[in-house]
């Protein structure tokens, strides 16, 4: 009888090796779980429907896990900024339109010349002086139609991001009127650029950054009547910093 069973087993293995292995596994697992004689062999008789059910449940479980996971994780991923590493690449300074420099010669929206920006208030604007009784020591810039049409960075992020126009060291602070402010001083300490009114600041004090690094998102914090960036250039004049007309630097 044993010899007959062995012969049958060898024949089964030869005819259907995959089925034989599956059957053996089912017999072992079922015998271990249900210690009743013949339970393993009975289960093997119904292996088709049993395996079908198991695989169906497995696929259903994976599907539910994926859907629930996606729903739960999406807000966390969006707020964490993790996704930006895929859209921007791992290097946040990778803005192709800027070249490394200690002297600014581009506008802080990117692009060439003044193509990407409109000046809403000029340097030493008399209109500003007449209203507020103090000098406007920079230029107020807003993005132009060309910026929205052509800026690849805006198309990817849907945020009006301001870039550093020089290489240098960052200072971040909130000014006396609540404006989120970033200053970048060049490496020989001869010139600094100042950006005010950010809604979100993307750099930290002490960071060493290059021209083209995103420093903040345009906003209206502080002494402001609408969303814009106040862009200021100051040059070292003895022990003080002298404000100069930024438009003279933009090429």
């Amino acid at each position: 009888m044993d010899a007959l069973q062995k012969l049958k087993a060898i024949r089964d293995f030869k005819n259907d090796p995959f089925g034989f292995i599956i059957d053996s596994i089912i017999i072992i697992v079922v015998n271990l779980l249900i210690p009743i004689p013949m339970s393993g062999k009975v289960a093997v008789q119904f292996r088709g429907p049993v395996l079908g059910c198991l695989i169906s449940f497995l696929i259903l479980g994976l599907f539910i896990l994926t859907v629930v996971g996606t729903i739960l994780m999406t807000p966390l991923l969006m707020t964490s900024g993790f996704l930006k590493t895929f859209t921007l690449g791992s290097n946040p300074s990778a803005n192709g339109s800027f070249s490394e420099t200690a002297i600014p010669h581009q506008n802080p929206f990117g692009g060439s010349g003044m193509d990407y920006c409109i000046v809403s208030a000029y340097f030493m604007d008399p209109g500003y002086y007449l209203i507020f009784g103090k000098n406007h020591t920079g230029v107020d810039l807003v993005p132009s139609d060309s910026y929205f049409k052509n800026s690849d960075y805006y198309k990817q992020n849907r945020e009006i991001t301001i870039f550093s126009t020089i290489n240098g060291k960052v200072s971040y602070y909130v000014d006396s009127e609540g404006g989120e402010t970033v200053e970048v001083v060049n490496n020989d300490n001869s010139l600094k650029v100042i950006f005010i009114h950010f809604s979100e600041v993307l750099v930290n004090t002490g960071d060493n950054i290059k021209a083209g690094t995103p420093v903040g998102v345009m906003g209206s914090t502080g002494f402001s009547t609408g969303a814009h960036v106040h862009y200021e250039i100051r040059i070292k004049d003895g022990n003080s910093w002298l404000a100069v007309n930024p438009l003279n630097y933009i090429q």
Binding site: V119, S120, P126, G133, T225, N245
Partner: protein
């Protein structure tokens, strides 16, 4: 007695009758819609006033930020400039309706000619004038008055005349202070000036200097008289006023309100 005989309505007569009815109907509709359209376009309120940062522009009320929003006035054109929105709306006061809206920071508009700032310079229509005007006025088809900086890093400015064809510039007045507004009314050139440290204000009429008690923000004509408006400022206790200019004197018309057109 013979019975009255009615004209038989034959095919031709019926067509003529139908055509007549259709013609009368079309005429009625055309006249009705023309009258309706004219009435619809005509505002009920025919004045332009400015009070507490709100401009009553005929029937519309428009809020202006103290800065950088601004107004340019070259009768009959009244321009509302909103630089942060990149738009300027031109109204025609004779027609009492909006003439056009342009996506430029307009300094002045007159008879289809547009003077505006783009980037680092000022343009007259499509022509780059090669310098930046802080304020400007189209004096004629070929001449523009422009208030521009004397030195690029300074607040002091000057009034110049620019020949649009040749771009030749001619100095009219160099200020040691700040020129606040410029206009040409009739053949006279008007401009305002403020001394920042003494806070004294002046209006010049063809170079004749007159001291006035408030900032000369905008100079304009109204009903054959000449006026200037003073917008809210820390230099004038935050009040909007307007003054008439009569015989070399400025006479305050109303406090806390400016009437531009009535």
């Amino acid at each position: 007695m013979k019975d009255i005989e009615l004209n038989p309505i034959n095919t031709n007569l019926r067509k003529l009758l139908q055509a007549g009815v259709a013609l009368i109907l079309v005429l009625f509709l055309v006249i009705y819609f023309v009258i309706l359209k004219n009435n619809h376009n005509m505002p009920k309120n025919k004045t332009i006033t400015f009070e507490n940062g709100r401009l009553q522009m005929f029937d519309d009320q428009i809020t202006l930020n103290p800065f950088p929003d601004r107004i340019a006035f070259h009768y009959p054109y009244f321009v509302i400039v909103k630089p942060t929105l990149k738009t300027s709306a031109v109204y025609n006061l004779d027609k009492k309706q909006k003439e056009k809206e342009v996506k430029e920071i307009v300094l002045d508009y007159y008879n289809g000619n547009l003077l505006f700032n783009r980037g680092t310079t000022t343009f007259y229509n499509k022509k780059d004038l090669g310098l930046l005007c802080e304020k400007a006025f189209i004096k004629s088809q070929n001449e523009v008055l422009c208030v521009t900086k004397q030195y690029t890093n300074d607040v002091e400015n000057k009034l110049i005349s620019i020949n649009v064809s040749t771009k030749i510039q001619k100095d009219i007045y160099s200020s040691k202070n700040i020129i606040t507004g410029v206009a040409v009314i009739g053949n006279d050139i008007y401009y305002g000036e403020v001394e920042p440290y003494t806070r004294k204000n002046f209006i010049y009429i063809n170079k004749q200097k007159i001291e006035v008690s408030d900032i000369v923000s905008l100079i304009y004509p109204m009903n054959n008289k000449h006026y200037f408006a003073s917008f809210k400022s820390v230099l004038n206790n935050q009040k909007e006023n307007y003054y008439s200019i009569v015989d070399g004197k400025a006479i305050k018309q109303e406090e806390g309100k400016i009437i531009f057109f009535k």
